[in-house]
């Protein structure tokens, strides 16, 4: 690995992705091990993210590590006006690895530069959330048996959704075909389409669900957030267009899986949950194994 810390999905190569996937599969078989015995992992959550924090803490606990940290900035010295640098330098003295969630973009890169111990970015504002992307890769690999030559549909807010951007970058190593479904003003940004063009990767853009979904191997759903709309009428008009319902999965491929980074609001109807093609809850469980793999890899265990 080029970097000890994991800040951005670009810090890892294709080879690194495959190594993490291999290791995650190993931890899935043996999730309880004592390899973190005597290690202290700091989880610094400057903004609350219960789901991500519990996933990391579950991963550490199953490997026999101890956890220190805080769950939101209000209960930390940030409240007293301490700088990020001082917080990180102090916590680095007490721990072997820092997992950090922070609302400010680029804070994780900065923390990795001032810290003496590796930093794992658990989300820095709208910028990066690489452990989410790695667990998405693991979920795709596990359900499809490969990452190569897949047809991936991304649905919802493709403009601001950092998970879809990172997943697009990571999957670009594996010759995918992309289909983007979003309202006009939440389309995939031009910079990502130019990137796909430069790599000769095919993509198609749609404004609603169509018959094309029958070609999908993966449908990656995201939330269309009400706050993104300046006009509430506009939101009311589009909000129901991007809801996946069970009947829409009729005639789709056997191997199709529906993924969602969660939390969902209404974009996947609950009648999908019992369909074997619904995979979002297993996807969350895969997050624990993937985070075990990431921590073990970074600490050379």
């Amino acid at each position: 690995m080029k970097h000890k810390s994991l800040v951005s999905i670009d810090d890892y190569t294709k080879d690194d992705y495959l190594k993490i996937i291999e290791k995650a599969a190993h931890f899935e078989k043996n999730p309880v091990q004592n390899i973190l015995n005597g290690k202290v992992i700091a989880t610094l959550f400057f903004e609350p993210s219960t789901r991500t924090r519990l996933s990391f803490e579950s991963a550490v606990n199953k490997l026999g590590g101890k956890i220190i940290g805080f769950t939101d900035a209000a209960s930390s010295s940030v409240q007293k006006g301490e700088s990020l640098k001082d917080t990180i330098k102090t916590v680095a003295n007490y721990s072997d690895l820092i997992v950090m969630r922070h609302p400010v973009e680029g804070s994780a890169r900065y923390a990795s530069e001032v810290s003496n111990v590796p930093v794992v970015n658990a989300g820095d504002g709208a910028n990066q959330h690489p452990t989410q992307t790695l667990l998405d890769l693991y979920s795709i690999y596990k359900t499809q048996g490969t990452l190569e030559n897949l047809n991936i549909f991304m649905v919802g807010d493709l403009k601001y959704g950092r998970t879809v951007h990172s997943l697009l970058m990571a999957m670009s190593h594996f010759n995918p075909t992309f289909n983007f479904i979003s309202p006009e003003f939440l389309k995939m940004p031009k910079e990502y389409k130019l990137f796909l063009d430069s790599k000769g990767i095919k993509y198609y853009e749609h404004e609603d669900f169509t018959e094309y979904i029958k070609e999908a191997d993966i449908v990656y759903m995201t939330r269309v957030q009400k706050e993104r709309f300046s006009d509430p009428i506009e939101y009311e008009k589009v909000k129901d267009v991007y809801i996946l319902r069970n009947e829409m999965l009729k005639g789709t491929k056997e191997n199709l899986k529906v993924l969602h980074p969660l939390p969902r609001v209404n974009e996947i109807n609950v009648d999908v949950d019992d369909n074997p093609k619904a995979y979002y809850f297993e996807q969350a469980l895969n997050g624990v194994y993937t985070r075990q793999a990431i921590i073990a890899t970074i600490l050379d265990l």
């Binding site: 951005s8 700088s83 990020l84 640098k85 609302p103 400010v104 973009e105 680029g106 804070s107 890169r109 900065y110 820095d124 504002g125 709208a126 910028n127 990066q128 910079e191």
Partner: protein, 154 residues
């Protein structure tokens, strides 16, 4: 005759550097980037001069000061077409064109209000230049792009 006049202006210093073809509105940015406000060398500044090719331009003449490439390329963000004349004994001994560098460290401000460099004190900004022609800088921290239109100096 015209070129003679220009020569006269350039040759007005004995030894030093003339930075020509600075966009008039960016002269003071260039001064700030080079830190000229802090040096005691004899210096002549001209601004809003007629330029045949660039509308109105600024010019800086500094005695007894010669720049390294790395230093002078720092002004490329504000004055990509600037030209340098190196003067020795009243004669132009070398002409140089400013080159846009690959990395920009500690000069520009990130346009993203949510970027850590705009929150935490004492972080030196770092950018990779992703488009040299139109000036587009990718922030090393938040990974957002700052364009020429929204470029501010730190």
């Amino acid at each position: 005759m015209n070129s003679d006049k220009k020569e006269l202006r350039v040759n007005a210093i004995k030894n030093g550097t003339v930075i020509d073809h600075i966009p008039a509105q960016d002269l003071f940015k260039v001064i700030k980037i080079l830190g000229l406000q802090n040096i005691t060398n004899t210096m002549t500044l001209g601004n809003n001069l007629e330029s045949k090719t660039h509308g109105h331009k600024g010019i800086i003449k500094i005695s007894e000061l010669f720049f390294e490439d790395d230093d002078i390329n720092r002004i490329a963000l504000a004055a990509p077409n600037a030209k340098l004349n190196i003067i020795k004994d009243y004669v132009v001994v070398e002409k140089r064109q400013v080159q846009v560098p690959d990395k920009v460290v500690g000069i520009a401000k990130c346009v993203n209000p949510k970027c850590v460099t705009n929150f935490e004190d004492n972080i030196t900004t770092k950018f990779t230049v992703v488009d040299k022609e139109n000036i587009a800088l990718k922030c090393h921290y938040c990974e957002k792009i700052t364009n020429k239109e929204n470029l501010r100096l730190q």
